[in-house]
């Protein structure tokens, strides 16, 4: 018994690893990222300590004297630097000439120090100039330190008398990496645009789901149910086309239909209407196309599930009802629909979740336009986390938005299970116990 249990665990291990890696980890990581202010600028893997002019500005208000002293340019030709130059293994004349002619000089910028170096008799190469100037660099402005310890020891070498608290303040002001924060959620909660995007998402899911993914799918399934088998399968095959066409091509077809120079414009032009971009003309138009584009893709899945579920209804029930004189509508009302509860639950639940997360069709068709009117939550999260003209991708905020989506998805699933009374649907037959 015990060994079979161990064997069971071993056998399930690959699946468990896959679940953890590919299903659980992304959600956990999203949750972790969402609690940070991570962007391109802060990096993902962690930050460094860099006393940049911007951090000096911050420090100037807290500890002005020290900040000014840190900002001092320091390229000083001192003994320590000269010794280091001797150790570089360059032509010996360089260090000797430096000591003789320039010892004790201080240069305000690196460029000026390097200009002096280039004037030496044994003109060092560009690379050597950089190596030499580094030996005299007594400034920490713009130098990157990988750890706090390195920063603190550099501050010590600079001769600055700093208390541990002051050092911590410098470290905080100069840290370039990300920090833990809950700001993302307060931004989401307070932004008027986020409320609008949430409304867009609700509208999008509700319209596509009710009109197409469940409503129209059910209609198609019932239609084909009453058709002779051959035309029914041809019909179902045609409805599968939007699902199996590559999404880029599928959207391109819609664009050809609805662009200024597209089919609708050409057709309407015959009746004297000026050409226009029907897809993006108004918010209503954009929504009309977004719902159709997604609906035509989504309806096929529901149709297949519902058709096969209908096939599973015993034929005898239909025959009996016909003998009793039931109309088609009565058959649908009293035989088909009551037995379709489980497939409808499944399709509704599954499609809600996939619609909540889907955005590629909208991205390709309207990109959220015109004027953000078709921007849904998943698209907004994508735009935030992975698109920014100035290259600063906001991973933290994007992750927070994605996490909100996960929470909404889970909540809705639980709600569906309750509404459809899942327990009675999967109750064990009494006879088997």
């Amino acid at each position: 018994m015990k060994s079979s249990r161990t064997l069971g665990l071993v056998m399930i291990a690959p699946a468990a690893i896959m679940i953890v890696l590919f299903f659980l980890m992304p959600v956990v990581l999203t949750a972790v990222f969402s609690m940070t202010n991570m962007t391109t600028a802060t990096g993902i893997s962690g930050g460094a300590y860099q006393i940049a002019p911007s951090s000096l500005n911050t420090l100037k208000s807290v500890m002005p004297d020290i900040a000014y002293e840190m900002a001092e340019p320091r390229y000083a030709i001192d003994e320590a630097g000269l010794k280091a130059v001797e150790g570089l293994g360059l032509a010996p004349g360089i260090a000797a000439e430096l000591r003789a002619k320039h010892a004790g000089e201080v240069f305000p910028t690196r460029r000026e120090a390097e200009r002096m170096l280039k004037d030496l008799a044994e003109r060092p190469s560009t690379r050597e100039v950089k190596q030499i100037s580094e030996q005299f660099n007594r400034s920490i402005v713009n130098t990157r330190f990988d750890s706090k310890g390195q920063l603190f020891s550099a501050l010590d070498t600079l001769g600055l008398k700093l208390t541990p608290e002051q050092k911590e303040t410098v470290a905080r002001a100069s840290y370039t990496g990300w920090t833990w924060t809950t700001d993302n959620f307060s931004r989401i909660a307070t932004s008027p645009d986020m409320a609008r995007v949430l409304f867009n998402t609700a509208l999008y899911v509700a319209l596509v789901l009710t009109l197409f993914n469940v409503g129209y799918a059910l209609l198609l399934a019932i239609w084909t149910h009453y058709m002779p088998p051959r035309p029914a399968s041809i019909f179902r095959g045609i409805w599968l086309l939007p699902r199996i066409t590559p999404v880029v091509i599928y959207i391109l077809l819609w664009k050809w239909l609805a662009w200024d120079s597209g089919f609708i414009s050409v057709l309407m032009g015959k009746f004297g209407y000026p050409a226009k971009n029907y897809l993006l003309d108004t918010a209503y138009n954009a929504w009309f196309f977004v719902v159709l584009i997604n609906g035509f893709i989504g309806a096929s899945m529901g149709m297949l599930v519902f058709s096969s579920a209908m096939k599973a209804i015993p034929k005898s029930q239909f025959y009996a009802s016909e003998v009793d004189g039931a109309s088609r509508w009565q058959q649908i009302r009293y035989i088909i629909l009551p037995q379709m509860r489980w497939p409808i639950l499944f399709v509704t639940c599954y499609q809600t979740l996939s619609l909540l997360a889907s955005f590629n069709e909208i991205l390709l068709a309207t990109n959220g336009g015109p004027g953000n009117t078709t921007e849904v939550w998943a698209l907004a999260a994508y735009h935030t986390a992975l698109r920014n003209y100035a290259g600063n991708l906001e991973y933290g905020l994007g992750a927070a938005m994605a996490l909100v989506l996960v929470v909404i998805g889970v909540t809705l699933s639980l709600l569906y299970l309750r509404v459809f009374n899942y327990r009675t649907l999967v109750a064990k037959p009494l006879i088997e116990d």
Binding site: A41, A52, N57, T126, N142
Partner: protein, 448 residues
């Protein structure tokens, strides 16, 4: 008799010695370079590095070194894919040695440690880098450090379709004087809307085609903000000038209300926009200097100067005529060996020489990076390069290198679009932008 074997063994010894010394000096280096926004006209962004590699190999050979450089080139036609790919590759320590991208990337990329200061590896006082326009080199700096070498310069002028301007009453002399009138502030944004309306009223262009701006987000839209008196950054701090931004939003809302710009203009297919501006379907539009190459090479507009006059972006209320330069810069990425980075830096330096850089400038209709380049016959003989450099470059601003500028830009653009399409009133859009900027950037932005 004894001398021969001695000679023989000496020869062998010398040969062995020679072969080992060659082996010791032989170096095979692969330098990878990626460039964003690189279409068929912009190939010299990458090819220039390859030309530079040949030059450096020859120089090395003369010094007795056997250096072999393989250049791996990767062009990206768009920007979004490129920036995603670059940042993620760099985070995964798989960044190319050289990257050519917009100067505004310097701030976030340097803060994240993805790029290293180029001034640590090149001699800015030596030719050709000492000849680069000082303002371009400033644009390539951040925190007082030079991070990139400008790869090109450009500008984003206003284009007018000459035949329509004539049809609404401009003489040839008026059109010749237009660039100067714009520069002097005599021809303003108001005049532009009026002319666009006249073109439509006369039936020269269809409704919505009078003023036909860039159909997607881009740096062009900051020019309008400047034109209406806005400032992007002051003393290292971002600035949101409410009054100037209101006038900017209002300008586009007015253009839509007047019917000279389409409400649904943003998001239209790029190819369609190109065709329309190249064939005279639109009256007035703003676009980049490099569009000249596309119009002439790909869109078949052979008689450019007969059909089009270009100027600075006219002044709006409270502002000045201006244009924006958005140079791409060559940057060195972190995480490579010092030797490789050194070679990459040398390649960038050679690629910046006037003749080599002029290949890119002329082929892609970008502008040159140095005065010496403007004096190269090949460059000066090109009418477009010459006129665009003289007329536009002295008035060019640039976007700030500030790691928070991207966030500011997103908020500005989102609300501009919303007021353009009538989704929000101008006041509501400004209010939303302000509150989001406050909650997002806090004291990193000055709101006034």
């Amino acid at each position: 008799m004894t001398i021969l074997p001695t000679l023989k063994s000496l020869t062998i010894a010398a040969a062995i010695l020679a072969s080992t010394s060659v082996l010791a000096l032989a170096r095979d280096v692969t330098i990878s370079v990626w460039a964003g926004g690189t279409g068929p006209n912009d190939v010299y962004r990458l090819d220039a590095i390859e030309i530079a590699a040949q030059q450096l190999q020859r120089e090395a050979a003369l010094k007795g070194e056997d250096l072999k450089i393989t250049v791996e080139k990767k062009p990206y036609s768009g920007w979004d894919d490129f920036k995603q790919a670059l940042t993620l590759a760099a985070e995964a320590k798989k960044a190319p040695n050289i990257v050519a991208s917009g100067h505004e990337d310097i701030a976030p990329w340097s803060q994240a440690g993805l790029i290293v200061p180029i001034e640590d590896h090149v001699d800015l006082d030596a030719w050709p880098l000492n000849g680069i326009y000082e303002n371009l080199l400033q644009i390539a700096s951040y925190n007082g450090t030079v991070y990139g070498v400008p790869q090109d310069a450009e500008s984003r002028p206003m284009f007018f379709w000459k035949p329509y301007m004539k049809a609404i009453g401009y003489s040839d002399a008026d059109l010749d004087a237009l660039p100067q009138n714009v520069q002097d502030g005599k021809y303003t944004m108001k005049s532009l809307l009026e002319d666009a309306k006249k073109m439509q009223d006369k039936g020269l262009v269809q409704p919505g085609y009078g003023f036909y701006p860039r159909p997607s987000n881009g740096p062009d839209y900051w020019q309008f903000y400047t034109s209406f008196g806005g400032t992007m950054e002051e003393n290292g701090k971002l600035v949101f000038d409410k009054a100037a931004m209101t006038r900017t939003y209002q300008f586009f809302a007015d253009a839509v209300k007047l019917g000279v710009t389409k409400k649904n203009h943003i998001g239209m297919p790029g190819d369609q926009w190109w065709k329309e501006v190249a064939t005279g379907k639109a009256g007035i539009w703003d676009a980049g200097t490099w569009h000249y190459a596309r119009l002439v090479n790909q869109e078949g507009l052979k008689d450019f100067f007969d059909n089009i006059v270009f100027t600075l972006i006219p002044a709006g209320e409270g502002g000045k005529p201006n244009t924006l330069t958005h140079p791409l810069v060559y940057m060195l990425t972190a995480g490579h060996s010092d030797e490789d980075t050194q070679i990459a830096a040398q390649l960038i330096t050679i690629a910046s020489e006037p003749r080599i850089n002029a290949l890119h400038a002329i082929k892609s209709a970008h502008l040159g990076i140095s005065k010496a380049e403007a004096e190269v016959d090949f460059y000066a003989d090109d009418r477009w390069a010459r006129e665009a450099t003289e007329r536009l470059l002295p008035h060019a601003n640039a976007m700030p290198n500030n790691s928070d500028f991207g966030t500011y830009w997103n908020i500005m653009w989102k609300n501009l679009q919303a007021s353009w399409t009538g989704d929000k009133t101008v006041d509501a859009a400004i209010g939303d932008a302000e509150s989001e900027l406050k909650s997002t950037l806090g004291d990193k932005i000055l709101i006034r």
